[in-house]
Symmetry: C2
Subunit: 299 residues, 2 copies
Amino acid sequence: LAIGDTSPAIVGLACAQLAPTFGDLTGNRSRAAAAIRDAARAGADLIVLPELCTSGYAFADRAEALEYSEPADGPSVSEWRELASEHGAVVVAGFCERDADGAPRNSAAVLDADRSCTIYRKTHLWDREQTIFVAGLQAPPVLDTAAGRIGIAICYDAFFPEVMRGLALAGADLIAVPMNSPAPVPPLPPNAAPMSEIVLALAAATVNRVYVAQADRSGPERGIEWSQASAICDPDGGLIAGPVSGVGLLRATCDLRRARDKVLGERNHVLTDRRTELYATAAANARTPDSQPIKEMVN
Amino acid sequence: LAIGDTSPAIVGLACAQLAPTFGDLTGNRSRAAAAIRDAARAGADLIVLPELCTSGYAFADRAEALEYSEPADGPSVSEWRELASEHGAVVVAGFCERDADGAPRNSAAVLDADRSCTIYRKTHLWDREQTIFVAGLQAPPVLDTAAGRIGIAICYDAFFPEVMRGLALAGADLIAVPMNSPAPVPPLPPNAAPMSEIVLALAAATVNRVYVAQADRSGPERGIEWSQASAICDPDGGLIAGPVSGVGLLRATCDLRRARDKVLGERNHVLTDRRTELYATAAANARTPDSQPIKEMVN
């Protein structure tokens, strides 16, 4: 079923929604490892775990984040590497990284079946993360893995259509999104629409014709409830798995050839139909939110 | 309630879902005028009508489109101008324009209460439109109107997050989307998610913190059924009106100050949080869909 020389066509995908216990590094590693084993035994080639799934999320400050951080060759990533190799699967999982300068990073590790490891550091920091983590300087990557061309975004990264588009343009067939999405306080009023994390995943899948696989978390932590917005979206914008309440494993079989076909109908193409010369114009016209746009009179 | 010198804060919005009869210019103008009057009497300051609402959509070819086209100072736009002036409202409506070179355009007219008129010509053409219309060369505009700072996109334009982001960056508080969205053939399988036109409107509203007001059409035409995806979305990503089946008028009261506040929570801002230097990198890394991305090893 391979297309070209290396990239697979049919991929078993799993997104694990976990409920880490804040600061329980050993217990959280066990929970993550168990989820990886369960998913692999169920046939998953690609397994996505939540953001910061070894440490928990709600650090009081940078010092506390460092207390629960580990280097990229630390015990969590090392265990995931062994599991990926053992099961011939690709693992994408979030952890609290201590970088070579001793600074905390909100990172995702991508462990390929060949034991290679890539670290991505979150570039769009949400709320108090700005006081805790150093933001990444490298754009979200696209990796050619044993489970296909995988783009990575961490939670609030995926809020930005520029990020998801950039990953699709760089060749991602599937975008894996480790996530810890705090539920709004107070809760939003009842609405006919699904929650925004699901809407944004569906929209990114639709406009880029990619799979989107997001793994959110569950379990209350220091007063935070979570959106529990784990979801798998297909390139037609179908919601093919999730969301789920509590701990759970979302699964889907993905035909990545669908994501490599960017054609809509008989004459359209979601990437080449872009009028980039006009978007440059729009950017040049951009004003600060409080300034007055100039009235245009086209006719 | 005005903010600054000219821009209103509270705007009565209406989106009319109409069912034009193909080629019945006189009848369709009457239907459009009646919808404008009804909306204005119900308190609307801004009235959005569908794409190509005077001619219908399913032209056999360019010659037939020209048969039902009219210049930008033709009877439809002239009538809308009178109605806008009479009711002190802003009208956004789609029509088949014959330009000064005699070419057909898929255009939207924006008639302000002060009798000014702006024409926008659709820049992203869907399917057979490519064989019929000449695409616009000017980016979708943002207009400072009596009903606020209004961005314009026509149907498939709004599929592109670059378009909606560009309008928000250029200062739009509300994006008006005249639409004729053919329903998929065969129908998509049942899905837990709302239809994609609604998902994309909600996503654009959420990530840009703008109102999105789309007016789709109804009524079978030459074998085409329509998505009937008229909707009003608020800057929190709430679906506050629509969709509706058949002919109908969606209404909402919009507080445009909400769209001028781009802040999320305590520390985030949907426009200034963008890491544009990284998106430029992603664009530079962009490959054709069939090429192999280079494996990146960040660590």
